[in-house]
């Protein structure tokens, strides 16, 4: 069991703890986790794809040894899939069972009114927690010792769903008409929302969250990340490949390589036993970092120039 109080003592300690879990982060990211923990506020993380938005939530759950509950958003996601659903099959089954025993129940009841009163005693049972199927959001609230709730790619969901999230984000509770309000257990979940910015998130949602923007890392940080993730890669090659990727990001590409691509590339180069970049090697492995044929064609011509540039660059 990790000592949470120790970890969350300061930004530096959070950063160090993340590093132990092989997640290298900037001060800004560590500050975000620090504030989220102490202010009990959700974090909305934005940034280009592949900079470690989802990874941050995952690592945080590892760090605090809390279960991670993940809700992947998509168009058409509604409360039945996100919050709760009635176990209609079970309800149906019980209705059938009850039908047979109905006579017993109503035995001795005089008149319609009395029968209805007796039936009422049963009525609410069907809409009790017994018949409730909790979905990720409700599950997260019910988690005894708290948890990390990751609402992934919230920009993919509909506007309506955003409004649905507001209650849980600000008060850590959900209202179910048949039962009432379900409040979070002792420890409210730590909530991470991620967005790829395909559309603007509403102000109401943003207002309730801390807003963290994760940009592409700079040369040093990216080298550290590669070092943490692919420790076996020789330092000189690491410097060259990271510099190469940084150069690529400057070009006008359809999809620039993200950190996850850099890591993949590092693994590929390691597998090929390379110890420095040369144009042929890059050409052969270009499809690891670039995901569009158009981009690959565009970059082909630049490869030798960039390679020699990163090779001669000062260490």
């Amino acid at each position: 069991m990790p000592d949470i109080a120790q970890i969350t003592q300061s930004v530096a300690s959070i950063k160090a703890a993340f590093e132990e879990h092989r997640y290298i982060c900037s001060d800004q990211i560590a500050t975000a986790v620090y504030l989220a923990f102490h202010l009990r506020k959700p974090i909305l993380i934005e940034g280009p794809p592949g900079v470690g938005k989802t990874e941050l939530a995952k690592t945080t759950s590892e760090l605090f040894a809390l279960p991670l509950i993940r809700l992947q958003c998509y168009e058409g996601l509604d409360e039945a899939k996100a919050i709760y659903e009635w176990k209609y099959g079970k309800q149906l089954l019980y209705t059938q069972v009850l039908k047979e025993t109905l006579e017993e129940v109503l035995q001795g009841a005089k008149g319609f009114k009395e029968s209805v009163t007796r039936l009422h005693e049963f009525g609410d049972i069907f809409f009790s927690e017994e018949f409730l199927e909790p979905r990720p959001l409700l599950k997260a609230l019910k988690e005894e010792n708290g948890c990390v709730l990751l609402i992934d790619e919230v920009d993919k969901s509909d506007h309506e769903f955003e409004s649905l999230l507001l209650e849980i984000l600000s008060d850590f509770q959900v209202s179910i008409p048949e039962i009432g309000t379900v409040k979070a257990s002792r420890e409210p979940p730590m909530v991470f929302l991620t967005s790829n910015n395909t559309r603007e998130i509403s102000d109401a949602l943003k207002r309730r969250c801390l807003h963290l923007y994760i940009p592409f890392p700079d040369l040093d940080l990216e080298q550290k990340i590669i070092h943490a993730r692919v420790p076996k890669i020789p330092p000189e090659l690491r410097r060259q490949m990271v510099a190469f990727i940084q150069e690529l990001r400057e070009l006008d590409l359809k999809k620039v390589p993200a950190i996850s691509e850099t890591i993949d590339w590092a693994r590929t180069l390691l597998l090929l036993h390379a110890d420095s970049l040369d144009p042929d090697l890059v050409r052969g492995t270009l499809n690891v970092i670039l995901k569009f044929q158009e981009d690959i064609v565009n970059v082909q011509g630049e490869i030798s120039a960039i390679t020699s540039k990163v090779k001669t660059a000062k260490r």
Binding site: D27, G89, K206, H211
Partner: protein
């Protein structure tokens, strides 16, 4: 402490970072947790709470750096009233990042005459940038010969020599009040206001005194003159800082806002080229507002396959006999908008802004197809897909604006090209002055469009009085439109597009 934060938020709002009261409260709690001690930490923390988009973060970074630099200086200046001037020198040295600090230390250590002289010449070179460093030197001079200076006679001079920062700050604030520094609107006025404030504080008297003293034969008087000169420079710096801060707090945007207000109502054809950028910003802002207003549109659904779980669930109340059916729904495509723009000389500017508006609304706007014509009509949708907005507009105007206007030909082209695509969910917007150069009208094609489309809206940039005069055939075309509007300013455009969105989403 809270006041500082409130001031900072005011500055942020001026820098177009939208901060709601709830976020202000969040910032307060954050501040309690974080404190002012670690500047970087504070900056990172507030960056999470206050700005909520990437653009806002950039603005925030700049505002934070600027604002908190001033605050530091200001607070220190006010706190130091009781401490000796030597302390002041050290404090100021810190602000000038280490370099000044070392010099300050060296200065107080220097005791012998030659060393002092050397330092004096050195600091004279730097005197202009760092007048504050000279203060501790003045102390030394006083040490060398006790009471070598004469009393200053002018009011400001006395104040300066008294070394009382609080009094100076108060005097500065009074002067600021006197010259209404709060009314400052554009940054070029900074110098003006700084000078006015200096005047209000009695600069001319001081100047006269300094020049008198400079001519004096007596050493003490000359020394005083030099000292006053240095302090005057220091004061000038302080006043400039003060004005700068006031500018950040009060002005900056109010000037911009004024121009924006003007541009909203001005006739678009009168807009000068250099204002285009600003207009684009306004259009973007208006579009953003419309977009958020209409973002929660009502969705139109089409019935799809049977939704078994829902049906069963809902029919349980009927004893499991299924008669209330629920269906999965399929979303219907968004309605379409066809924008047909006259881009001939007289109307080109209006077309520019309408296209700008329509495409800025991409997020909430139904699918837009756009056409441009002066004599022949051509579809430019693809141009807009491939290029960024500004380029696309310029290309459109460049390529299609030649030739004299021929509405008949344009309608004919439209019929040939895409009349079949017009259906009862399509809105057609035609922008043009309906000045047909006495050519063939072919209004029957417009009638056909009118019959097929959901709405046909004609926007005419001319004012209503000019319609139907000369070669304008607005009357003929107007008969086959659902709506005819005068449209020649951003306000009009906003209204039209707003209505369009309302109908499109209904």
């Amino acid at each position: 402490m809270e006041r500082t934060l409130a001031n900072f938020i005011q500055v942020l709002r001026n820098a177009e970072v939208r901060v709601s009261p709830a976020e202000t409260l969040d910032a307060m709690t954050t501040l309690e947790l974080v404190g002012y001690a670690d500047r970087k930490f504070l900056k990172h923390s507030l960056a999470l709470v206050l700005p909520k988009t990437v653009d806002e973060k950039v603005a925030y970074d700049a505002a934070f750096d600027q604002f908190f630099r001033f605050e530091e200086v200001n607070n220190k200046a006010l706190q130091n009233d009781s401490s000796s001037s030597n302390d002041d020198g050290d404090q100021e040295g810190e602000e000038q990042q280490g370099e000044g600090n070392g010099e300050g230390g060296g200065g107080s250590a220097a005791e012998t005459n030659p060393a002092n002289g050397k330092r004096k010449s050195k600091s004279k070179q730097k005197g202009k940038q760092k007048p504050n460093n000279l203060q501790d030197e003045e102390e030394e001079e006083a040490d060398l010969g006790p009471g070598p200076m004469t009393e200053s006679t002018s009011e400001l001079g006395k104040l300066l020599m008294a070394n009382s920062r609080v009094e100076l700050a108060v005097r500065m604030a009074q002067a600021g009040e006197a010259v209404n520094v709060k009314d400052i609107q554009i940054f070029t006025q900074k110098g003006l206001y700084a000078r006015r404030m200096m005047d209000a504080m009695g600069l001319s008297e001081l100047n006269a005194e300094i020049s008198d003293l400079g001519e004096s034969r007596q050493v003490p008087a000359r020394r005083l003159g030099q000292e006053l000169k240095r302090r005057r420079e220091w004061l000038r710096e302080e006043v400039r800082d003060y004005v700068e801060r006031q500018f950040l707090l009060h002005a900056d945007v109010s000037g911009k806002r004024l121009r924006e207000e003007l541009l909203r109502t001005v006739k678009l054809s009168n807009v000068e080229h250099r204002s285009f950028r600003l207009i684009q910003e306004i259009v973007y802002k208006m579009a953003k507002r419309l977009a958020t207003m209409h973002a929660r549109r009502k969705k139109v659904f089409k019935r799809g396959a049977l939704n078994v779980p829902r049906t069963l669930r809902h029919n349980m109340q009927y004893d499991g006999s299924i008669f209330d059916l629920h269906w999965k729904s399929v979303k219907i495509d968004r309605p379409k908008v066809f924008a047909v723009c006259d881009v001939s000389g007289s109307v080109a500017n209006y077309a520019r802004f309408m296209l700008m508006f329509l495409y800025s609304l991409e997020e909430v706007m139904p699918k837009v197809r756009s056409f441009a014509f002066s004599s022949d009509l051509a579809e430019v949708t693809e141009l807009f897909e491939r290029n960024d907005l500004e380029d696309a507009i310029n290309k459109t105007l460049h390529e299609y604006s030649g030739g004299s206007t021929d509405y008949g030909q344009a309608l004919l082209d439209f019929k040939r090209m895409c009349l079949d695509d017009v259906d009862n969910r399509t809105t057609i917007i035609i922008l043009g002055d309906a000045r047909n150069n006495y050519g063939e009208n072919r209004q029957l094609i417009l009638k056909e469009m009118y019959d097929r489309a959901k709405r046909v809206i004609w926007l005419n940039p001319e004012s209503k009085n000019a319609w139907n005069a000369g070669d304008s055939v607005m009357r003929v075309y107007g008969a086959y439109c659902h709506q005819v509007e005068e449209c020649n300013s951003l306000m009009h455009l906003e209204r039209v597009v707003g209505n369009l969105l309302k109908q499109a989403s209904g």
